[in-house]
């Protein structure tokens, strides 16, 4: 039932001159919600009208409240002709629908017009009165909180992490409707903006319903995307992780949720729910009805339609072997691609998934069906193998059982989170990914309105089976994306296979007994690297060693993941951004031929991207990648691949071997010389990088580690031929007998190019670091200055000599130059780190490549940068907003048993001591011994922990205090606090960052999700400064509108900000251009740490867990 929406239009300012004669404007405002419209009086002859209207009241269903945006249109009154629109403001009122967020939206909003951009501002006040609604069969999901942040938000505690939620909504794109021919582009763009706003609201509501059904109260890691499929329509889809969150430090916040279903949920004890994972098919639910009612005619009706994966493909509670439910071999041209081998993977996949035995899925099958990545990144196999870690045996069995039972009932045990509460992540397998090429016109089939759902279900199923094959029962850091060119669409999904701690996945009943065990067995800081799987039965070739940290479990030689670096991981040195870039030409083709061509190319691309990543990782002297994101973009005549990740040196993993270059024609003297020259260069680079990133792992003798594990040596070579390296290094130590180098064979010019391109990557200038994860490994002393930015570049390729090499070089230069530019521009911030560097590539036209980068530069204090040893503990404390108690226990324990004292042997480098006995391009081994002895640090840890414990206690009180203080009544309240005092300025500072935190500050409140979509067009491109001028102005306007909305909600920052889409099209001949931008993030209130100190109180507290320790650490 209903709610009452109240809107008041206060004033306008800086309006444009609409009447040339008087140089003034006669402005009035239309306020529209749903089908109801109100108007203000006309305020004559002013550019700063004061309407001061009455409260316009809309009585509406809460379903509408969720779906519909509030539309405010400012017009110029004209007695004789039609009134001219000045511009519009769309306000998403969702943040007002849950009690903990904003209570009022009030502030100056930029008035936006698709042609003219921002034209003045309007001051609006919006309130919502919601009435209690206990109707179980309602369609709305008011009260479910949404977060873009991909970790548990700072001031909440995760009670249960339920799992994956997804939904998509399809509609026709107004741009492609027949009516478009008679209306102006402006009208159709406005229609588009309105429609997408509506669709996102609807999508969010539907996701919310699913969450409620799962008994959750929030969605974390909410990622919503648009697919502009052109003529075939507009798809808005979203994924997220349903959670039950508990607000820290303000228990009262839960109770007054008069409207919110979360209250209702509270009343039902969790353990009464027989099946916590019913999201796939609740027995009841309006959801179903609704879906059915929509089903028949949908995707083409003007009305939005939704479809549910559950209904289309998958059995509800899928038991392990999939039984009769098989992969639909995708109807002809759509090939799912994930395989290195050029067979159609769908066949292989069905093969593997039909295999009833899950434990013994071994190499032959797997190697074909699993996407390339898993071959290299070892999986932690949670099931099947009995011979896991000896000590962990019984526990693991238990763990496995519980987790399995928790997860197996789920259709998709996926989590969009990238950072987790301590103890959640038990083991990490490798990256799993799946891609599929589809032809878009298939959507026209009215009998199969759920095509899109089916497509995604298929991909997800593939991901799931990949993970299963890796012995993992869950996928974390999961994300989905598309790339569309004409009628061809590549769907991609990727994530990290993992074994999770079931404690968070289920209701509280098991918690007690399990927790104990957890503490005994699990939590070493290297735990997530361990691969508790049967090494005799490895699914793919890999080289195992005993963990360099605890020496009890086995670890792979390299680890690739899509998640953030776990806060408790021990890292040596600093991290760095690693990118692989690749272009492949493709013949222009139509429809099915095109799709086939693309799917044939994909495996090669994936392979090469991966090889590049591996090479570059070696070159940096590192052994693990985090935040890996591989983007494959399709264009008319080429495919682009761009992989970004943050390389680190994990102390638990072995030292990586070097890179060995081998020539093919050893007789040629000059060639030899050239090769050795190259080899030297590479070795120098590695040495330099080690110094640059401060990678100096201490070495220990081999005996401690134990002998290397025998490994199955039936590796096949993949694409390149390999040769034995003849020049073995003399100083090769027996104990390093297994330390293999990575062999690059130069057998043709291509390979030569590759090696060259390896060396062309210039490290950032001194004082700069970069990473694409949230936290830069090895830097923890952030100062408060941040600068978020977006940079866009488009280059035109000369069409004459398009070869793969030329393309690669162009693309490489483009990215490198872009980075160089960033470093130059931000030089005043040195020392600083570019965090969350997010590259997006698109191919808007034949010969155009567009690269968009969004990142944040954060300054840090160089003087304190040396205390890296403290980092792990500090960080885990930082993030440990959930279980401080537990956390306090395990590091202590860890100190006592897992770190026998060892003297620090001087660090030594054995880079050149590399030989290869069976170099495999894709998987290399390095058994060099290193061991970080932490004995001497233990005591300091303990001290530190004690110290922290106190800080934490103090912190909790501060939180309560500031929450009260910061509760937004109007705008300006805390803006004053955050903004530097400036007598004249009325504009508060709003920070924006792609990270989930603000350095030096504490987030005290989440105000709701910001999800905005804008279109801007121009018919006077030259006059507006050309394409650069046009886009520059537009992006600045988008930032401004985001900031204004946040400020109106009472916030002073946006965290987890992301620009999900930036589609730019130009037609210079017609002097026209158009751009679509979609951004999202979480509006928050933060308080500077320094302000907090003032409020700090001495009173001890029992409420230890209630702190957001984040901000406490640097003090």
């Amino acid at each position: 039932m209903p709610g009452k929406l109240k809107v008041k239009i206060v004033a306008g300012r800086h309006l444009p001159v609409m009447d040339r004669a008087s140089d003034l404007t006669d402005a009035f405002v239309e306020v529209k919600f749903g089908n109801t419209t109100f108007k203000t009086d006309v305020y004559l002859k002013s550019l700063n009208p004061q309407w001061n209207s009455e409260w316009f009241k809309f009585e509406v269903d809460d379903e509408d409240l969720q779906d519909e945006p509030l539309q405010i249109t400012v017009l110029d009154h004209d007695t004789y002709s039609a009134n001219d629109a000045i511009g519009k403001v769309y306000i998403d009122i969702d943040p007002l629908l849950y009690s903990e967020a904003a209570t009022v939206i009030s502030g100056w909003f930029p008035i936006y017009d698709t042609i003219h951009g921002i034209r003045g501002e309007i001051n609006v006040v919006v309130k919502v009165d919601l009435f209690n609604d206990l109707n179980r069969f309602r369609q709305s999901s008011c009260g479910v909180k949404f977060f873009c942040t991909t970790s548990i938000p700072k001031c909440y505690r995760a009670v249960i992490i339920h799992g994956f939620v997804e939904e998509l909504v399809v509609n026709e794109d107004p741009e492609y409707q027949w009516i478009d021919r008679i209306r102006t582009p402006r009208a159709s763009n406005e229609a588009r903006q309105r429609l997408i706003s509506l669709m996102s609201g609807e999508l969010q509501r539907k996701i919310g319903l699913k969450v409620l059904e799962m008994r959750g109260n929030a969605v974390v890691g909410y990622l919503q995307c648009f697919d502009l499929e052109g003529e075939s329509g507009l798809v808005v889809r979203a994924i997220g992780t349903a959670c039950t969150l508990d607000k820290l430090s303000s228990p009262a916040a839960f109770l007054p949720a008069c409207n919110s279903p979360s209250k209702e949920m509270k009343e039902i004890p969790f353990n009464e729910d027989p099946n916590p994972n019913t999201h796939s098919s609740g027995p009841s639910t309006p959801l179903k009805n609704q879906t059915y009612s929509f089903s028949p005619s949908k995707s083409y009706s003007r009305q939005s339609s939704s479809s549910d994966t559950d209904l289309s493909l998958t059995p509800k509670t899928a038991p392990y072997p999939q039984g009769p439910r098989i992969y639909l071999c995708p109807s002809s041209p759509s090939l799912s691609c994930g395989s290195l081998h050029l067979k159609k993977s769908c066949l292989l996949l069905s093969e593997s998934s039909l295999t009833p035995h899950h434990s013994s899925l071994v190499s032959p099958v797997l190697r074909k069906s699993v996407s390339f990545s898993e071959e290299l990144f070892l999986a932690a196999s949670g099931m099947g193998s009995g011979s896991a870690g000896k000590e962990g045996g019984p526990f693991k069995a238990l763990l496995r059982q519980q987790t399995q039972s928790a997860l197996e009932q789920r259709e998709f045990p996926f989590f969009t989170l990238t950072a987790f509460p301590p103890g959640f992540l038990v083991h990490v397998g490798g990256v799993v990914s799946a891609r599929s090429v589809k032809l878009l016109d298939r959507i026209h089939n009215p009998d199969e309105p759920e095509t899109r759902d089916a497509w995604w279900a298929e991909i997800r199923q593939e991901i799931k089976s990949h993970a299963k094959a890796l012995g993992c029962h869950a996928v974390v850091g999961y994300s989905e994306s598309t790339s569309i060119c004409e009628e061809v669409c590549i769907l991609s999904a990727s994530g990290t296979a993992a074994v999770l701690n079931p404690r968070f996945l289920q209701d509280g009943t098991v918690e007690g007994c399990l927790e104990q065990r957890l503490e005994e067995n699990l939590p070493t800081r290297c735990g997530f690297c361990h691969i508790p799987y049967d090494e005799l039965n490895m699914p793919f070739p890999a080289h195992l060693t005993y963990c360099y940290n605890c020496r009890k479990q086995k670890v792979p030689d390299v680890l690739f993941t899509t998640i953030d670096l776990p806060t408790d991981a021990t890292v040596i040195g600093k991290g760095c951004l690693i990118q692989a870039r690749l272009c492949r030409l493709k013949k222009k083709a139509q429809a099915e031929a095109n799709a086939t061509a693309i799917s044939n190319l994909l495996p090669f691309m994936e392979y090469e991207v991966h090889t590049q990543l591996m090479n570059k990782l070696k070159l940096k002297g590192m052994n693990a990648l985090f935040g890996l994101r591989i983007q494959i973009t399709v264009g008319e005549n080429m495919l682009m691949g761009l992989a970004s990740a943050t390389g680190v040196y994990l102390a638990a993993l072995p030292t990586p071997g070097g890179i060995q270059i081998a020539g093919k024609t050893p007789n040629d003297g000059s060639y030899e010389q050239h090769i050795s020259h190259m080899q030297k260069k590479i070795n120098d680079t590695i040495a330099k990088n080690k110094e640059l990133y401060e990678i100096n792992p201490p070495e220990i003798s081999e005996e401690i580690i134990g002998s290397p594990i025998p490994e199955p040596r039936q590796r096949s070579r993949l694409l390149r031929s390999q040769s034995e390296s003849s020049d073995e290094v003399t100083e090769l130590d027996l104990s390093h007998g297994k330390k293999d180098a990575f062999v690059l064979e130069i057998d043709d010019t291509d390979a030569m190019e590759d090696v060259h391109s390896l060396l062309t990557d210039v490290p950032p200038p001194s004082g700069f670091y970069s990473c694409n994860t949230e936290i830069m490994p090895g830097i923890n002393n952030w100062t408060s200055e941040i600068q978020m930015f977006t940079s866009v570049r488009v280059i035109r390729l000369s069409s004459l000599n398009l070869t793969n090499q030329a393309l690669n070089k162009n693309f490489n230069d483009l990215c490198e130059n872009l980075l160089k530019s960033l470093y130059f521009k931000l030089r005043s911030m040195i020392p600083c780190c570019l965090c969350h560097v997010n590259f997006t590539v698109s191919l808007p036209e034949d010969e155009l490549i567009q690269v968009t980068v969004t990142a944040v530069a954060i300054t840090f204090d160089k003087n304190q940068a040396l205390q890296t040893t403290k980092t792990p503990v500090e960080k885990s404390l930082q993030r440990a907003s959930t279980d401080n108690e537990e956390l306090l226990q395990f590091p202590l324990e860890l100190c006592s048993d897992s770190f026998p004292s060892h003297p620090f042997p001087p660090a030594k480098e054995h880079l050149e001591s590399a030989s290869s006995n069976s170099g495999i391009p894709a998987a290399q081994r390095a058994t060099s011994v290193d061991y970080s002895s932490f004995a001497d640090r233990c005591s300091s840890w303990i001290e530190l922990i004690k110290l922290k414990a106190q800080t934490i206690r103090r912190g909790s009180i501060k939180t309560t205090v500031t929450v009260e203080k910061a509760s937004p009544v109007g705008d300006g309240n805390f803006r004053n606090r955050s903004a530097p005092p400036c007598a004249n300025s009325t504009v508060g500072v709003v920070k924006m960052t792609p990270l989930s935190f603000i350095p030096g500050a504490k987030i005290t409140k989440y105000l709701g999700i910001i999800n905005m979509f804008f279109i801007r067009e121009t018919t006077s491109l030259r006059e507006e400064g050309g394409v650069s001028g046009f886009l520059h102005a537009f992006i600045a306007e988008v930032f401004a509108m985001v900031r204004a909305h946040v400020a109106a909600l009472g916030g002073n920052a946006v965290v987890s900000y992301i620009m999900k889409q930036c589609v730019f099209m130009e037609n210079p001949n017609k002097n026209q251009a158009q751009c679509l931008i979609n951004v999202s993030g979480d509006a928050v209130v933060f308080v500077r740490e320094s302000d907090l100190e003032v409020v700090s109180s001495q009173q001890p507290t029992t409420n230890c867990q209630s702190s957001c320790t984040e901000s406490e650490v640097t003090t």
């Binding site: 300012r13 600068q787 977006t790 940079s791 530019s821 650069s1028 520059h1032 600045a1036 306007e1037 730019f1064």
Partner: protein, 357 residues
């Protein structure tokens, strides 16, 4: 491979002061890049010329977008599009409204009209300041003039309020506006030795003492126009030189007081009547607009030059002028003491400032 589009947008707008200066100085992107290269920035940062080019373009684009707002500085403070820290906003405004001494000397006292704008080409050639920069400065003058033209109250305050300039700069603008409004001739060869500072000093004194606002700040008219009544009244001073007795008495009073104190006493004594006649006649002529315009020319011709040719030191000029003004109070037959003080007080200050090489 050509770059079609290349932009960088920060949540906080990046302002590079050096590039801003180059932009204000009217250099093209190419010239600015060349100048930056010459400054050695490439060596310092290890950047390439391409990076510099892209960076410069970006900044120029930003400045171009900001320029519209800089035309009305309060807008810059209230706009939402560019998030700029207040200190930076102040810097942007201050620099934008700063002007070149060489330029302002060329246009000071000229009508800020299209006609003058056409002469900017010549000014640019003459001063070596780029035409673009000349235009900006000229447009700034004109814009400020337009805004405060019809306003009541203190000129400086009005300028400060509407353009958010620093006190110093606001005073300079007040002088420029005042000169433009009264069209004082400053371009004659004789006046070339005077700096803008000299004129600005005089303008301030005149605004304080000779305008309507000086008498009554509540008046409709304000600081920009000279007090017409006052100028009319100045005719009355003529008696000081027209009445022979009065002139002689005046001379003897001054001579008595200064005897022995002045290095150039004999020259002063010889020239007294000429000087006095000059100063009083200047006052008497101010009823005509034409003569108002020539005020500075007259002052230099009638007073500064004769003294300078006799090599009066500045201290002697000061002694003389003080005594010259004060002695009038002892003239019993002279009834316009207040008028004389209003006139001479300002004039004395101006003359002292104008008296240099």
């Amino acid at each position: 491979m050509t770059s079609e589009l290349d932009i960088f947008v920060g949540n906080t707008t990046l302002i590079d002061e050096d590039v801003y200066r180059l932009w204000l100085d009217g250099y093209s992107v190419t010239d600015a890049v060349a100048l930056r290269v010459r400054s050695g920035i490439l060596e310092q940062t290890g950047a390439t010329a391409a990076v510099l080019q892209s960076d410069t373009m970006d900044h120029y684009r930003t400045f171009h977008m900001l320029e519209r707002l800089l035309h009305a500085p309060p807008k810059l403070l209230h706009q939402l599009i560019f998030q700029i820290p207040p200190s930076r906003q102040a810097l942007l405004i201050e620099r934008y409204y700063a002007f070149d001494e060489a330029f302002v000397r060329e246009v000071l006292g000229k009508k800020l009209s299209k006609g003058t704008k056409k002469d900017l080409d010549d000014i640019s050639t003459k001063t070596g300041i780029t035409l673009k920069s000349c235009r900006r400065q000229f447009d700034n003058f004109k814009r400020v003039f337009k805004v405060v033209e019809e306003m009541r109250g203190s000129l400086v305050d009005n300028i400060q309020q509407h353009f958010l300039l620093s006190d110093r700069l606001a005073r300079d603008y007040a002088a420029i506006v005042f000169f433009a409004n009264n069209r004082f001739e400053t371009g004659k060869k004789k006046l070339q030795y005077l700096s803008f500072g000299d004129f600005a000093f005089c303008a301030e004194l005149m605004i304080q003492n000779w305008t309507l606002g000086a008498v009554d700040s509540q008046m409709d008219d304000m600081d920009m126009d000279l007090d017409k009544e006052f100028l009319q009244d100045l005719k009355e001073l003529k008696v000081l030189v027209a009445d022979k007795d009065l002139l002689d008495l005046h001379k003897s009073l001054v001579c008595t007081a200064l005897r022995g104190k002045l290095g150039v006493f004999s020259e002063m004594e010889a020239n007294f009547k000429n000087l006095s006649r000059g100063l009083v006649n200047v006052a008497a002529k101010l009823t005509h607009n034409k003569d108002v315009r020539d005020l500075f020319v007259d002052l230099v011709e009638k007073f500064v030059e004769p003294c300078r040719s006799d090599h009066w030191p500045l201290s002697d000029v000061r002694f003389f002028l003080n005594q010259y003004s004060v002695s009038v109070h002892s003239l019993d037959g002279f009834r316009h003491q207040a008028l004389w003080d209003r006139y001479m007080g300002t004039l004395r200050g101006c003359l002292l400032r104008l008296y240099h090489d």
